[in-house]
């Protein structure tokens, strides 16, 4: 591992004397020696540390400047963030996708981390930042991939390519005015989408006050999906849903090693929310059927004065990875189904393109589409 201690020392020297960040709180940034990205600089300017009752709050803001030290274009990067003294059982990651960074070009990565720990705990809070992976434009990958960032970034890249293709075809068939209309619809869709705060706890129920019932999944069958959900249920108690069990069938001619089922919940007032997803690493041969089980509990907080009560659930296959590493994601047509339209956000790439349109106008959007 190549240590960036020299760089950190220089950063420390540049920090103003009245900085509220303790030296002990500065992170240790380690990239592998053969990493295709270099750390050029790190700025922790707005970071601070304060006492909150019996706890110590560390607001850590890092603005890193990285350089593509390799020969291929970078499409995505995932950095892993951990603080062993604070949460030995948990870690975080920051992933940037839809990048277009050529050799020797630089790009920024922002990390906004907050750590809360008891005051009496040890004084040092060693935050570690490392590299989990880099995705290149040919979909090749570099990195330890401990957080499955290869799959995460590849899925994002597939979505980005699908949506760029779609908007290019809109431009080709309907001209700039049709593209403008699509962007306005996308911005409206983003604003209308309902959002929900969710907690996930490993294992059994978080509370025991509500009687529990078993609820069957209804399924949205996407025509091109290589996986067919056959059956499914979860245990519901008030605002908690736990232990989902799903039965899926591989209806493609290729073996499948990963799939994800999106989980939509409907509450007592008729509202729909995308509650979460049930991922599964498996080995599913063509035509084979398999069961998926997750021993975890989803908990939804109150919506205003009324507690959310789950009345029914819908599942749909949201992504599939074949054994050969290729991926399947729903088509734009699949996503146009009214139920998915209500709950699914536009893809990351669609949001990025809509932002370019909103900030810089139609000409900039067309130029961006033509870059790829």
């Amino acid at each position: 591992m190549r240590s960036s201690s020299v760089l950190l020392a220089s950063v420390l020297a540049l920090l103003p004397l009245n900085s509220v960040v303790l030296a002990a709180a500065l992170p240790k940034i380690d990239f592998p020696a053969d990493s295709p990205v270099d750390l050029l600089s790190a700025d922790y300017g707005e970071s601070n540390e304060s006492a909150r009752g019996g706890a110590l709050l560390l607001d850590f803001h890092a603005a890193l400047s990285l350089r593509n030290a390799g020969q291929r274009k970078i499409r995505g990067i995932t950095l892993v963030v951990s603080a062993q003294d604070v949460t030995p059982g948990g870690k975080g990651s920051v992933t940037i996708t839809s990048l277009d960074v050529g050799p020797q070009e630089t790009f920024p990565v922002r990390i906004d981390l907050r750590l809360l720990r008891p005051l009496q705990a040890s004084s040092s809070v060693p935050v570690q930042i490392g590299l989990d992976g880099v995705l290149f434009d040919d979909l090749s990958f570099y990195g330890p991939d401990k957080l499955s960032s290869r799959r995460t970034m590849a899925l994002a890249e597939w979505e980005a390519r699908r949506d760029r293709r779609y908007f290019k075809s809109v431009l080709a068939s309907g001209g700039p005015e049709r593209l403008r209309q699509e962007m306005l619809e996308s911005l409206t869709h983003q604003a209308d989408r309902p959002s929900l705060d969710v907690q996930v706890v490993r294992g059994g129920r978080a509370t025991n006050f509500e009687p529990e019932k078993q609820l069957q999944f209804a399924f949205l069958h996407l025509p091109d999906s290589p996986v067919e959900p056959v059956d499914g249920m979860a245990r519901i108690a008030g605002n908690e849903a736990r232990a989902p069990r799903l039965e899926v069938k591989n209806r493609s001619e290729r073996a499948i090693r990963y799939l994800e089922v999106g989980w939509i919940v409907h509450d007592q007032t008729g509202r729909d929310f995308l509650a979460g997803s049930v991922p599964a690493e498996l080995n599913l041969a063509p035509g084979q059927q398999s069961r998926i089980f997750e021993n975890a509990t989803l908990k939804f907080p109150q919506l205003g004065s009324q507690p959310l009560s789950i009345e029914s659930m819908t599942g749909f296959v949201s992504s599939v990875e074949f054994a050969d590493g290729t991926l399947w994601i729903p088509t734009r047509g699949d996503l146009d189904s009214p139920q998915l339209q209500r709950v699914m956000a536009p893809s990351d790439e669609e949001q990025r393109l809509a932002r370019i349109y909103r900030k810089k106008g139609l000409a900039a959007l067309v130029a961006e589409l033509n870059k790829f």
Binding site: A55, V81, V86, T87, P88, G89, G90, K91, G92, S93, V94, T95, I96, T97, S98, F107, P108, R110, I111, D112, L113, R114, L115, L116, R117, P118, L147, A156, Q190, A191, S195, D197, V198, Q199, V200, V201, R202, G203, G204, N208, F209, E212, P244, W263, A275, G276, S277, P279, E294, A296, L298, A345, D348, E349, Q351, R352, R355, I356, R358, K359
Partner: protein, 216 residues
């Protein structure tokens, strides 16, 4: 002859004594009628509880389990406090050991009756919760007498909201906040991760922050 401590007899009846201690206790019980009777009482009580647990009927759904848990906690604590008080009262009069044994048996019987009352009206899915509560009390109150494994560490909780995502563990929190952005999409995976996706308003970059459990 010096009699065995009551806690030691209880551990023997529950099969929780180590090899050497068990051998020594069994050797003493073989020669001491009083301790043998005490041991038989503990064994009977344990058997009764086991049998009752097997034939537990269903309870009505509207029971307040939190209140029941508090009540049983309170009663066990009262029983323990009474036992301690009786033990203190009993100390200066070692010539009358029967009073202490009788009091202990009364408390044991009362606890047994109380336990039976709950067990008979306990639905199976609630048994686990009640047992966990009792285990916690045992660890907190008499953990030095009855050997117990360490308390289970607090479960890690992963949370996602539009303001950020976090993993909480033993009162400590690691959060990834989202900077100024044009709307965020929150996602939760049942494998134990939470994510928030947004387009950074300053850089225009598509960013996905995630927090995970350790096993990920």
């Amino acid at each position: 002859m010096k009699h065995l401590e009551q806690s030691r007899i209880a551990l023997l009846a529950g099969g929780e004594l180590g090899r050497v201690e068990r051998w020594l206790a069994q050797r003493h019980i073989a020669r001491c009628a009083e301790c043998r009777a005490e041991f038989a009482g503990f064994c009977l009580a344990a058997n009764d509880l086991r049998e009752l647990a097997e034939v537990m009927p269903e309870l009505p759904n509207n029971l307040n389990w939190n209140r029941l848990s508090q009540e049983i906690t309170g009663n066990v604590r009262v029983g323990l406090a009474a036992g301690e008080a009786i033990a203190l009262f009993d100390k200066p009069a070692p010539s009358k050991p029967r009073f202490g044994w009788n009091a202990a048996l009364v408390i044991l019987g009362a606890t047994l009756v109380f336990g039976i009352a709950f067990w008979t009206s306990l639905p199976p899915q609630q048994a686990e919760h009640l047992l966990a509560s009792l285990k916690r009390i045992r660890t907190e109150r008499i953990g030095t007498v009855i050997r117990s494994s360490a308390a289970t560490p607090e479960e890690a909780v992963v949370e996602a909201s539009s303001s950020g995502i976090q993993v909480k563990e033993n009162g400590r929190t690691l959060s990834l906040m989202q900077p100024r952005s044009d709307g965020a999409t929150v996602s939760i995976s049942m494998q134990g991760s939470a994510g928030v996706r947004f387009v950074d308003a300053d850089t225009g970059q598509v960013t996905t922050n995630k927090v995970y459990y350790a096993e990920q």
